[in-house]
Subunit: 316 residues, 2 copies
């Protein structure tokens, strides 16, 4: 078992806001009902491998206590998680054989309909903030409550690109690092060229853009250069839900855990994010991360290094 306290005791905490959900998911390999899910949960559990986490979100009175205990045991502070009357946010979806595209069956906003994030005072000094996928208006409400963050990272999805482009643009303006998948970046920027899309996003303010490409890896663009994280050929994907969230959570957790925001560190963080995401999709919900050991993470990271290697940087 992963002992968060051993590894993350001295690291700066990451503030994470996003959905906390009960998911019903069907894939060709099985079905899971009312499982722990939501962008903030996936991201927080992933980040907690590297740094303490302060979670901001909302659940209903029906949210199982065991999930709260599990999150707390992972070093995730829940003082920012509101527990209110009503039902927890629920998502239900399925995946076909190719596992790349989620088909949403139903979304029940429930307690999310009237949610407004309220940060406990201790959260407001957060150095590292991750705005996981959620209504950009709520992402802005969080930013209004943090004092002077060192690094703001945001994620989003096509739903907000289409529905709230102006608010999303404002979030991006105030972020240091933006996560989008390739289709979203192309859609938001209206160009097929990913380098061009990344430049347009950086022109709004951020110093780095990370393009998520699912099974094909990820690209990290900075003003000075770009990095192509290796794609990890999966033997078997059980449930791709949360891949993007664990990727971003692992990334932010690694950066907060090391406190290093140099380009070299961002490259490693991109790989650690890929490592955690590739492990997460080996089981439903966050089940694979529940039984994860530090050795699992080190072993997969070493594998990423070995599959990417073709020539030492020193020689030409």
């Amino acid at each position: 078992m992963w002992n968060a306290a051993d590894r993350t005791g001295k690291a700066a905490p990451v503030l994470i806001v996003g959905s906390v959900a009960l998911d019903t998911v069907e894939t060709p390999l099985g079905r899971e009902e009312n499982a722990l899910g939501g962008a903030a949960v996936y991201a927080s559990v992933a980040a907690s491998l590297f740094a303490p986490v302060n979670l901001v979100g909302v659940v209903g009175a029906d949210f199982p206590r065991e999930h709260l205990s599990f999150l707390t045991a992972r070093g995730i502070d829940l003082r920012g998680l509101q527990v209110v009357e009503g039902r927890t946010f629920r998502w239900s979806g399925s995946y076909d054989y190719d596992l790349n595209q989620a088909h949403t069956r139903s979304t029940e906003l429930n307690v999310f309909e009237d949610f407004h994030p309220r940060l406990p005072d201790t959260y407001r000094d957060a150095g590292f903030v991750f705005l996981a996928n959620i209504d950009p208006d709520l992402q802005l409400e969080v930013l209004a409550q943090v004092r002077s963050p060192r690094l703001v990272v945001c994620d989003t999805m096509n739903f907000w690109i289409e529905g709230k482009p102006n608010q999303l643009r404002e979030v991006i303006r105030r972020a240091d690092i933006v996560f989008m998948n390739d289709a979203e970046a192309r859609q938001f920027c209206g160009t097929f060229s990913l380098p061009r899309a990344a430049r347009e996003l950086m022109a709004l303010g951020p110093t780095a853009v990370i393009i998520k490409k699912g099974e094909h890896g990820a690209l990290l663009f900075t003003r000075a250069s770009h990095f192509s994280a290796p794609s990890y050929p999966m033997e078997q994907v059980v449930d791709p839900t949360g891949a993007g969230d664990t990727f971003a959570g692992g990334f932010v957790g690694y950066v907060a855990g090391t406190g290093d925001i140099s380009e070299g560190s961002l490259r490693k963080a991109t790989v650690y994010g890929s490592v955690v995401a590739s492990l997460n999709i080996e089981d439903f919900s966050i089940n694979r991360l529940r039984r994860l050991t530090p050795e699992d993470v080190s072993r997969r990271y070493a594998e990423f290094k070995s599959i990417a290697f073709f020539e030492a940087m020193e020689s030409a």
Copy 2:
């Protein structure tokens, strides 16, 4: 300009069989009529950057002499290219905005209908053989004429997977390295898992499988390990025609040029293939390769190294 003789004089020649064509191509960035094309041409021009090439194919009496002069000037031996009565093979196609999928408008087999490869005697001792995309029956006819090749590499396409699966299976049995794109490997093996597809292909005989993923890079599987070649984010793709052929041609040319078939060499060859393919799609037909300098190749290779780097292999 690339001086093939300087670079490739001492290397073993590569025997390449495949189509020689006149292509009419329309992309969002323009249109080119009756341009030099065909799998064997793309592959040969790419391979000629690293090794001499012996070309096997057929053209009609209408094939422009200037193309023959150009190929000869690149160190490509044309004694295996039959020039016969009739019209050269013609392909016409277009690409949409996303440039990933070619839409075929017309295919005229012409002189290809009655083509049977005839290898000049000097070709029969070829050490390196590349069976570019062509009817698997013709690929087998070439293999029947070579004496004891050191390395046989084959490519194919969905058309033959559907139309001649048994003949294709026989080609794969006799090949050392198989190239397929991800969709083709999944289709041929009936599995979504690329590692599993690669294992099934290797079970037929080959010692390595290369999965082409277009803009997402490539995977090299051997019995012992796998390698994920970086995806190169293109600023602008002008014409993706021949990307797979130049990738494979660059790969085979590099291996023949070095004479090194170790796993380390196959990894570098995969990257050199990606380098040549990424350059080729910057212009129509093989126009970018016409004006390519050795420095262009070295520069792009160094760029692939730098975009893939995140941590030296020595440290953990």
